[in-house]
């Protein structure tokens, strides 16, 4: 896919410029297969992630939805036996093409994990860290501004503005997760992947995260894996339902706008899953 790789150009400040997507898509997976050693965990996934929308990946345990999510920013590369076949196009450029730096991919496609994982550092440093390791060259004032805007975007500024020097661990679970989202935002990604971002949180914190995700889609594209179907129904614009096939490989069963999936799904398996009569 040399021709598509060539559309990625790197400027002196390390940022990557790309042609604006003409098709309104942030990511396009085609023929995506993910392996752990000889085991094929995900097979033949074709999925288009719309820009500035929230796409939920749902499905039973083992259906490959988290593997697909991690394939979207090459996070699976960190597992020695993992490999991917097929394409994941970011603005038309395959992120798996030779020569593409996975670290750069992960900067542009950030990830928020199931359990909040702040660093054992101050709230301020948690947010500033990502920008620093990505070559942030601004002044102290610029960094202060970046930290504040990131914390504001993550809807946690008002709760932490008077204690930026305190440890990230001093915050509640829900606050920690929003801090981690602020840390992700500080790197200025285009896409934010979220792997069950609220499953470790209480219901109120969960709703705050969902509200936050709705705000974030104005500026970012969100892909969220969730076990909570009500969360997918509440918080997403599009829903992809995955299932495990008889060969234990996960595959995409149905993908549509969320309203259709939860009111009139086309596939009987989807119907069974979302009505709780699966298996």
């Amino acid at each position: 896919m040399a021709s598509t790789v060539n559309t990625v150009t790197r400027s002196n400040d390390g940022s990557v410029s790309l042609a604006q997507p003409a098709n309104g898509l942030a990511l396009e997976a085609s023929g995506l297969n993910c392996y752990y050693g000889d085991f094929r965990a995900v097979k033949e996934v074709d999925l288009e992630i719309k820009k500035h929308a929230i796409t939920a990946l749902i499905g039973p345990s083992g259906c490959g939805k988290s593997t697909v999510l991690r394939a979207f920013n090459r996070m699976n590369d960190l597992i020695p036996v993992a490999r991917a076949e097929g394409e994941v196009l970011l603005h038309g450029a395959n992120i798996y093409a030779p020569g593409v730096d996975p670290v750069e991919v992960r900067r542009r496609i950030g990830m928020v994990f199931q359990r909040p994982n702040p660093f054992p550092k101050s709230i301020y440093e948690n947010v500033a860290w990502g920008a620093k390791i990505n070559g942030f060259k601004g002044s102290k004032e610029d960094m202060d501004q970046l930290v504040e805007s990131s914390l504001r975007s993550a809807a946690i500024w008002d709760e932490v503005k008077d204690k930026l020097d305190e440890s990230g661990y001093s915050l509640s679970g829900g606050q920690q997760q929003r801090l981690c989202i602020a840390r992700t935002i500080a790197v200025r990604p285009e896409i934010i992947l979220m792997d069950e971002p609220a499953s470790a949180l209480d219901p109120i914190s969960t709703l705050r995260i969902e509200e936050l995700i709705q705000d974030l889609k104005k500026n970012y594209t969100i892909v969220i894996v969730t076990h909570n179907m009500q969360q997918a129904a509440r918080a997403s614009d599009f829903t992809a339902f995955f299932n495990m096939d008889s060969d234990r490989a996960g595959y995409l069963v149905e993908y549509d706008d969320t309203q259709t999936i939860f009111t009139s799904p086309a596939n009987e398996l989807t119907e069974q899953y979302i009505t709780g009569r699966f298996g």
């Binding site: 179907m229 939860f262 009111t263 009139s264 119907e271 009505t275 709780g276 009569r277 699966f278 298996g279």
Partner: protein
């Protein structure tokens, strides 16, 4: 089995709607018979029955809302519950028409004679409306969109009888002094029966939605009475 409790509760909702439907099927025919036979006892019983139907409707709606709040219904379950709430409302309104006819029947009382064509055609209107309702309840019970789609055309028969009676009643009103009030009562009864049949079409629309996920509006608009040639109406 997964969701056994929920499935049982959905079955209860279905049964409650079918009970309402079967009572109204019967009462549509009974009220026409009571009017023709001047049977005030039956008319009074049907007026009282309306309170029961109203309560059944409220129970169905409240139980549906409880399931929405506690069971998070999705897809076909959600469509079923939405249809149940709407259909229960249509049935309740249908029985309001039964009650309206029963009240008019009491106002007419046992005196006088009815138009011969009214005595013949009004029970036929009721039979068509009741039969349409019966079929719609089968379609609801079987989740059968094809059957639901086949029912609205029967409303043409009801509309035909309505139009014919309307003209007869207007002519009757003009045939002699002092008949206006009585003719007006008769017009109200045919109007109520015609509307009851229209409500069945709404039921069919919700059955189609429940079964397919697509809401399809059938032609169920109120049938405007035919134009009357006033030159034939006596002064």
């Amino acid at each position: 089995m997964a969701r056994e409790y929920f499935d049982n509760e959905l079955d209860k909702l279905k049964s409650a709607v079918l009970v309402m439907g079967s009572e109204i099927e019967e009462n549509l025919v009974l009220v026409a018979g009571a009017l023709i036979a001047r049977n005030t006892a039956v008319a009074e019983r049907l007026i009282a029955a309306d309170l029961v139907i109203n309560k059944q409707r409220i129970d169905v709606v409240m139980n549906s809302l409880t399931l929405i709040a506690t069971q998070q219904p999705m897809a076909k379950d959600m469509r079923f519950i939405a249809a149940v709430i709407e259909i229960a409302g249509e049935l309740e309104r249908m029985h309001d028409y039964v009650k309206g006819i029963a009240k008019t029947s009491l106002e007419i009382g046992q005196a006088g004679t009815l138009l011969p064509s009214f005595a013949e055609d009004f029970p036929r209107m009721a039979a068509f409306a009741s039969d349409m309702l019966s079929r719609s309840m089968v379609a609801f019970s079987e989740n059968n969109a094809a059957l639901a789609r086949s029912i609205p055309k029967w409303d043409d028969h009801v509309d035909y009888l309505f139009n014919r009676l309307y003209v007869d009643i207007v002519e009757y009103a003009g045939s002699a002094p002092g008949l206006i009030a009585h003719a007006n009562q008769l017009e109200w009864t045919i109007h109520n029966m015609e509307r009851a049949a229209d409500r069945v079409i709404n039921v069919c629309e919700w059955v189609v939605y429940m079964a397919t996920g697509e809401y399809q509006e059938f032609d169920s608009e109120y049938e405007a009475p035919p134009a009357i040639d006033r030159s034939n109406v006596g002064e």
